[in-house]
């Protein structure tokens, strides 16, 4: 029998050699715990993320935009499912993970605690929020845990449509009437900074980062991903004729990146800790949906049992 220390050495050697870890492989307890935490938070974010957009399904400005938004929100439900399934390969139960979300023990992305005030917000979410999520998820396609990486590949394939439909909405509004353009600008103003916060605290303040990088759960740091996202997004905003609400935003020839202004991390921690504009509303909606769906889940089981009994009797 190998000692724990030897097992850990072997494990790290596999990671270093880019060999994926699969559910039945030996893994350090802390690796398993980190993955469960990260994957379940990711799953919760997909599910809670349906709420701000769901707010506009019944009020979409056309049938075309309504079916598109509906399809997009459906995809997010699917993403939640892929991720809960990936988490379950680590020996946890989806029901317990959902319980942790509902009791507030588990977190979800802080971005979904902001309200969607106008139709332009739906454009801004697809463009910026899905855009930021994509940057993170493209990286996670190469994460060291096999089931998580495979879920990410599937998700990334679906995400492209999300960002493009969002940008299309922005394009229509920005090239529309002055009032529509103003709505688009206002949405950008409100969603820009929270989108940058989606990548998490700066590297020197990020508690889990170093170990996650060593285990290749993450492949890039929060700051690297944030920079990548900004660099990509600036020209998209320029094309729309909209202004990114950051007076410090400026191309840095030497760095070959955009410089940007300070992020209000105080706001980020406030929202994470439950004091964002919609935290209570979001959790309440989730719990309500779960509780009011209980009879459906029970009825389905009862029906399945009845069918089984009939089959056995026959």
């Amino acid at each position: 029998m190998l000692s724990n220390e030897e097992l850990e050495k072997e494990f790290q050697a596999k990671i270093d050699a880019e060999i994926k870890i699969e559910p039945k492989d030996w893994m350090p307890e802390a690796y398993r715990k980190t993955l469960i935490r990260q994957i379940s938070q990711h799953a919760h974010s997909e599910v809670v993320g349906m709420l701000p957009e769901g707010n506009w399904i019944t009020r979409a400005p056309s049938l075309r935009s309504k079916v598109i938004l509906l399809a997009k929100v459906q995809d997010e439900a699917g993403h939640g499912l892929y991720l809960y399934s990936a988490a379950e390969t680590l020996g946890v139960d989806r029901e317990d993970l959902i319980e942790e979300l509902h009791t507030g023990k588990a977190k979800y992305s802080s971005i979904f605690n902001y309200p969607t005030l106008t139709w332009a917000d739906i454009g801004a979410i697809g463009w910026l929020v899905d855009g930021a999520a994509i940057a993170n998820q493209v990286m996670l396609c190469r994460t060291s845990y096999g089931p998580y990486a495979r879920a990410m590949v599937r998700i990334c394939k679906e995400e492209s449509f999300h960002q493009r439909q969002g940008y299309e909405i922005m394009l229509k509004m920005a090239k529309g009437t002055p009032e529509q353009k103003q709505m688009a600008q206002d949405a950008l103003n409100r969603w820009w900074w929270p989108s940058l916060m989606m990548f998490g605290p700066p590297d020197d303040k990020s508690i889990h980062s170093a170990q996650s990088l060593k285990w290749k759960i993450k492949r890039q740091t929060n700051d690297e991903l944030r920079q990548e996202f900004i660099d990509k997004t600036v020209k998209q905003a320029e094309y729309l004729g909209l202004t990114i609400p950051d007076p410090h935003l400026k191309w840095n020839e030497e760095r070959q990146h955009y410089d940007f202004g300070p992020i209000n991390w105080e706001e980020f921690y406030q929202v994470i800790n439950g004091n964002g504009p919609c935290n209570r509303q979001r959790l309440k909606a989730r719990i309500k949906a779960h509780e009011e769906g209980a009879w459906v889940r029970e009825a389905a089981i009862a029906y399945a049992e009845k069918k089984q009994a009939k089959k056995t009797a026959a």
Partner: protein, 95 residues
């Protein structure tokens, strides 16, 4: 089933960590352990796999090909689920 018959097992092989198990075929075996060993002997003689799943064929529930039209119809007319449905100016880069 004749009581002397060995049941049929479906065999799934993961060729390399990071990839899904993939269905490769089936074989008869008296129990799961034997099915794994036989799968190794017939399907993994040339290092084809790093992990084997065996599932009793009788436990597999398959969709009915005759119902395929009805089953997949909902996905057929939703072209807006595809990224190519949206025209994105090339000036803004890949999206």
């Amino acid at each position: 089933m004749n009581k002397k018959d060995w049941p049929l097992w479906e065999i799934f092989i993961r060729s390399k960590n990071g990839l899904n198990h993939k269905h490769v075929g089936s074989l008869h075996a008296a129990d799961a352990q034997m099915a794994i060993e036989n799968a190794r002997d017939v399907y993994c003689r040339r290092n084809e796999g790093v992990s084997i799943w065996v599932v009793l064929s009788s436990q597999i529930v398959a969709s009915d090909p005759d119902e395929a039209d009805a089953l997949y119809e909902p996905a057929k007319n939703k072209i807006y689920r595809h990224p190519t449905f949206y025209e994105i100016p090339k000036e803004v880069g890949h999206m």
